[in-house]
Point group: C2
Chain length 117, copies 2
């Protein structure tokens, strides 16, 4: 049996984004992850699984950097999202990252210690 | 000058989703909208604009249905997202829709009366 896949989206809590702002950042991250991996076997498998997504939290930029670095070391697709700064945040503020889509177990090895957002 | 584009994501407030759940639903909607319109001029223009997204609210399913119907009448791309029901909601609950990506003015004609989520 093929192994399960997912996409993890990791949002900063220290920015105190509104629920709508957080949702928009998560949407940016998910679209970036999908478009970047389009056409890869990992993307196809994830699409086939119904595009499972999980939204997780980190306390701040250092913890987010750690997740991005760990994902990179694991060879997982990783995208960071910098806010355009038109509304609540300073331009260029990195609000979140997407890890995957990819094998659930590999993604858990990077994000498994994080709590749900 | 080419006209501005956007993607509107419209979430139900009556489901009282957690911020993470709402973010995941918005991410589902955004990916669905992107993949469905991939390769169209509207998608290309939106990508070129930096994929602007706005997250809006409706009070419940009837108001969401009205938005979906109005978007359909306007010929705008529209996707609804039904939750898999693995966590907080009953399976099949329609949580949100995506309108666009498309011309901002056309999307505003459908969603312009809605408040930010």
């Amino acid at each position: 049996m093929r192994r399960a896949t997912k996409l993890a989206i990791v949002l900063r809590t220290d920015l105190r984004m509104s629920a709508g702002k957080a949702a928009a950042q998560a949407a940016h991250a998910a679209v970036a992850a999908a478009l970047t991996t389009l056409g890869t076997p990992g993307f196809a498998a994830w699409l086939d699984d119904g595009q499972p997504k999980v939204v997780l939290r980190v306390a701040g930029p250092d913890e987010l950097d750690d997740v991005v670095a760990a994902a990179g070391r694991s060879g997982l697709p990783v995208q960071t999202i910098a806010d355009a700064g038109r509304t609540q945040l300073d331009p260029g503020t990195v609000t979140c990252c997407a890890v995957g889509p990819g094998d659930s177990a590999e993604i858990d090895a990077v994000t498994g210690a994080l709590s749900l957002y």
